[in-house]
Point group: C2
Chain length 196, copies 2
């Protein structure tokens, strides 16, 4: 149970609350290690989300479909990010989002049933997940700010700056769908960039 596989998740969680060894073990014991090959769909719209997945290795994406069937990317999750539909999971309501693997990935999953047990057994855990929600909320707020106040070109530059490796790991049309523009337009933006 002390495998290096768990070093990073424990490190990240400990930054929120100090957690005695035995509680850490309880936490790790509740995790399911899941190897998912590229293109696996972990969640489909209409299903209730029953997991929160920590990306130990690989890259995941969550997105939804608008009424024309166009994808809108919500999040890319690479190493040390969580991916889930937390609202669907917490409230047991069907999700509207899809979650898929963009690379062969290793996930550490907490399942719906086990989470309540953990909250009971590990007093500091509510706090950890509350802080995760906060970070989530902050990120989403930034995103809304940017979408409403900045033109696509600046949003693209900002994404490149924060995640320089992203274009090497995910196809360009998905970045476009994250920015809220068409792949064609992103292509034109890029052409404009190199021209300058």
């Amino acid at each position: 149970m002390n495998e290096e596989r768990y070093a990073r998740i424990i490190g990240n969680i400990s930054r929120c609350t100090a957690m005695p060894y035995e509680q850490q073990q309880k936490f790790l014991a509740a995790l399911e290690v899941k190897q998912v090959p590229k293109k696996t769909q972990l969640l489909r719209a209409g299903e209730v989300c029953d997991f929160e997945a920590y990306v130990n290795k690989g890259c995941m994406r969550s997105y939804f479909l608008d009424e024309h069937g166009h994808e809108v990317t919500l999040q890319f999750a690479t190493e040390d990010w969580w991916v889930s539909d937390v609202v669907s999971m917490a409230e047991g309501k069907p999700s509207r989002i899809f979650i898929e693997a963009l690379e062969d990935s290793e996930l550490l999953c907490i399942h719906r049933g086990k989470k309540e047990d953990l909250y009971r057994d590990i007093p500091g855990l509510e706090r950890v997940f509350r802080m995760m929600l906060l970070r989530n909320l902050g990120a989403l707020q930034d995103r809304l700010f940017a979408t409403m106040a900045w033109p696509a070109e600046e949003r693209y530059a900002a994404v490149l700056k924060r995640f320089p490796e992203l274009p090497n790991r995910v196809p360009q049309h998905m970045i476009a769908s994250y920015l809220g523009i068409t792949p064609e337009f992103l292509s034109k933006l890029r052409a404009r960039r190199v021209a300058k």
Copy 2:
């Protein structure tokens, strides 16, 4: 302390966790009742947010300014909503948003310092605020979905449907800034609506 002033906030919180009487009293004792006249600025960008305010009566608004100085409305908070910059409050970082009163309002405020005490004294409270964050997150996600996938006209119709009273309480140009469009364009949308 049993005034009817507190009936609704207690009702709302109890829907998240059962809370024994004495804990309720502890919670209420930590609240500051604040009467704010119309146009009061409760928070300005650059300040650290040190409160979460429950709107007992009246109407508040949170917004930020883009680089051209244009307002973008984040939220309207009428009776029984909370308004705050939870991220700034939790992490002690300066906020980028403004919070102001659109009507003379009565607020029930939890201040930054007291909140940690409350978490310590009332075990169920982490859960309550975690659920509030979840609802917040859900709302923000819906908003991002809508902004990216729907044209302004449908977004406007959706807002009217969810908050039919809104146009009677807040000026139209603020609704425009909530929708992410200019006041002029909203005016034209409305003209188009009645024409049909």
